[in-house]
């Protein structure tokens, strides 16, 4: 349908029609998308961050948990490797060894001084803490679902320094490496978001679809439900559900659970929109036509109605993603979501919200930059997609 609209009215050469017939909608969307600069930049940013998250354990030099703390460099500033200093040039980047002192005079803060005479050289592919790419542990109540898969265990890391530790983004109060934490956090937050979005999307499609297509009392009933759920603000909902989480749950399981909850909270908005849209669409001729041709309801919803606002769903999904991540951070902030020692962007941002950090340890903010980038990336990719999938995208260049 959307596609048809395109040939009818865009300026695209009528002859292009054939191309459109031969090309899949996917290709078309991509063709448009790739020519939208802001969206492409966003997409690249996104890809890079996803990869960073994916390879987090490999890229991050140290264990992001307390186990990997650097007890000689707490609240330490970021260390940038350099190639030369007054003592000359070195092909291999290096940082300096540090000394530190603390007393009441320094307000109990470690005062860290670089020992410029002693260089620590950066090495690639060093052996450090072991990690597994697949380390899935689920222990829900009841033994049935419990399982623990562990595979692809390595202990090689992208880089490190000899005779010391390097902290590109500095360290926090317990000496945890913020760089490593950030990478892992990105992954956690991405995962939470994705899970949440998927769940809410499926729910929304089913419920919104049925409600909007059949209308009448089915609609009223379902509306009652969605409305009721939507009118309850998620925070208390979360609060209560969070209370269900048994103590012994591993942080992985807990996070899994939280993303599910996020999903369940997220669906109604989308569902209601779909429904409204269907209510208007279903009164259109072509639906009647299809019905007369004896097409099944499901078929009509799938083939005729949903496509009529694919772009709408796309943008909704893309919008809801950052909202998932965002609710996660918000909840973590008020202490209901994930928190230390779990590494989620939310948990990291919680640390930022301290007067002391704002005044003295600004590098705690680095994860925030990533968060902002992540959200913006998603929103712009989302808009880009909707423009591309949109019949009129063509005229907006």
């Amino acid at each position: 349908m959307a596609l048809f609209g395109k040939q009818k009215t865009t300026g695209v050469d009528q002859k292009a029609k054939e191309a459109y017939f031969t090309a899949s909608q996917g290709q078309l969307i991509w063709a448009r998308f790739s020519s939208n600069r802001s969206a492409m930049i966003a997409l690249w940013a996104l890809v890079i961050m996803v990869v960073m998250g994916l390879l987090a354990p490999f890229i991050s030099p140290y264990d992001p948990t307390i186990a990997g703390r650097d007890n000689q460099y707490e609240n330490g500033a970021p260390q940038l490797p350099k190639f030369w200093d007054e003592n000359g040039f070195s092909p291999r980047p290096f940082i300096y060894a540090t000394k530190r002192t603390r007393s009441i005079k320094t307000n109990f803060r470690w005062v860290i001084t670089e020992d410029r005479s002693e260089r620590l050289y950066v090495h690639m592919f060093v052996k450090e803490w072991p990690y597994s790419f697949i380390d899935m542990k689920v222990d829900l109540p009841g033994e049935a679902l419990d399982f623990h898969a562990k595979a692809l265990t390595f202990d090689t890391h992208l880089f490190g320094v000899e005779g010391g530790k390097i902290h590109l983004f500095g360290t926090d109060a317990s000496g945890k490496d913020i760089f490593s934490r950030t990478l892992h956090a990105i992954w956690t937050s991405l995962a939470v978001g994705t899970l949440g979005v998927l769940i809410s999307f499926v729910l929304a499609l089913i419920i919104g679809g049925i409600s909007g297509y059949f209308g009448g009392w089915i609609d009223s009933a379902l509306q009652m439900l969605t409305d009721a759920i939507r009118t309850v603000p998620p925070i208390p909902l979360f609060m209560a559900l969070a209370a269900f989480m048994p103590d012994h749950w591993s942080s992985e399981t807990r996070f899994f659970f939280i993303s599910i909850i996020l999903g369940f909270i997220g669906w109604p908005t989308l569902a209601r929109r779909i429904r409204t849209h269907l209510l208007t669409e279903r009164s259109q001729e072509y639906v009647l036509a299809a019905q007369l041709c004896g097409a099944s309801s499901g078929h009509i919803i799938r083939r005729h109605l949903l496509p009529s606002f694919t772009s709408y769903i796309i943008v909704d999904l893309m919008i809801s993603f950052p909202y998932m991540v965002r609710s996660e951070t918000a909840l973590s902030f008020i202490g209901l979501g994930l928190k230390d020692p779990v590494n989620s962007l939310g948990a990291l941002m919680q640390n930022v919200s301290q007067a002391d950090v704002l005044l003295n340890y600004q590098w705690y903010f680095i994860p925030v930059i990533f968060f902002v980038a992540l959200v913006l990336a998603f929103v712009f990719v989302g808009d880009g997609l909707r423009d591309s999938a949109d019949p009129y995208g063509g005229t907006k260049k």
């Binding site: 009818k8 695209v12 050469d13 002859k15 448009r32 063509g394």
Partner: protein, 333 residues
């Protein structure tokens, strides 16, 4: 012959797209005299709608008209260079003033949440000095004129409360209410079922006589043309390959493409049946054939000629002309 109401000269239209600059219409020429019905025929994708829209500058923002393209409208004795119009005010002439347009999907061309009457009145007040009341009366009159029962009540209804045929009638009523000199009908009947089609076509015929106005009738259906048009222009891949009085063109079509279309004419019992056009596929807009655009599908394709040179219009008889080298040969024989 009388002075043409509107005439297109060397009309060439291209579009900026993600796939690059695409040529939609190339060196198209035609005239429409007042009261004349010109049929513009061609498969979907032949560029007929784009051509028509050009007359009202309705093509989207990424459209480029070649510098030598000219569209001249003779409204009230004065010549208007349509393509040079820029400011909305000036456009009024070609948009709803001297020219009106009706579209393929009557449903979609009414704003869903505004009553039909409201939209008619709005247009009238825009293009005439009528008061709201006059505009309303006139609109209702027009609705009656196109044969809509209880026009008074219908006036306050929404498009979705009309039946398919009634919508198209209403559309026509709205288009004609401003007494345009030229009515562009873009496949006005394809969306309708057989009986309605007939009625609508008859209605339009009547109106042409009554209002003495010209129609640019766009369709892929030579059958419909046969019933309605005085002259016809056959388009293929953005070029007019043959034009002339309907009779001549249909009786002895010169261009192989036209012939192909005629052979594919649907039987009159079922005007809805899909066209089974000339063998082969229309090439992608990206690889526009060199020479004669039709040569890739032409039964009488001549290696080394048709794919090199662009054939010019060659007069057959009277106003009947076709652009094909083969035609020359026949004529020669």
């Amino acid at each position: 012959m009388t002075e043409p109401l509107i005439s297109a000269r060397d009309l060439t239209i291209r579009f900026h797209t993600d796939e690059g600059l695409i040529t939609a219409v190339e060196k198209v020429n035609f005239d429409i005299a007042p009261g004349e019905v010109l049929g513009l025929v061609g498969e979907s994708g032949s560029g007929k709608s784009v051509t028509a829209k050009a007359l009202m500058q309705l093509n989207a923002g990424n459209t480029v008209y070649d510098s030598e393209s000219r569209i001249t409208l003779r409204a009230d004795g004065a010549d208007v260079d349509v393509l040079s119009l820029r400011r909305p005010k000036e456009m009024m002439v070609i948009r709803g003033g001297a020219i009106s347009m009706i579209f393929q999907e009557p449903m979609a061309s009414f704003a869903p949440a505004i009553t039909v009457g409201d939209q008619m009145v709005e247009q009238l007040m825009l293009h005439s000095s009528m008061t709201k009341v006059q505009a309303k009366d006139h609109s209702i009159h027009m609705l009656e004129r196109v044969g809509i029962p209880e026009a008074g009540r219908r006036f306050d209804q929404y498009a979705f409360e009309f039946s398919g045929g009634m919508r198209q009638r209403a559309m026509i009523a709205m288009a004609l209410s401003t007494k345009p000199k030229l009515l562009i009908a873009d496949e006005p009947t394809t969306a309708l079922d057989v009986t309605i089609q007939a009625q609508v076509i008859d209605l339009m015929k009547e109106l042409v006589d009554e209002f003495h106005m010209a129609i640019l009738f766009i369709t892929h259906d030579l059958g419909v043309i046969a019933q309605t048009a005085d002259n016809v222009a056959v388009m293929y891949l953005g070029r007019v390959v043959e034009h002339g009085p309907v009779r001549d063109v249909i009786r002895n079509a010169a261009h192989p493409y036209t012939q192909g279309l005629l052979n594919a004419l649907p039987n009159l019992e079922n005007l809805d049946s899909p066209l089974t056009p000339v063998a082969g596929d229309i090439p992608s807009p990206l690889e526009r054939p060199s020479g004669c655009v039709f040569h890739t599908r032409c039964p009488v394709f001549m290696e080394g000629k048709c794919d090199r040179d662009v054939p010019t219009m060659i007069n057959q008889s009277g106003d009947h002309a076709a652009a094909c080298f083969a035609v020359v040969n026949q004529g020669g024989a």
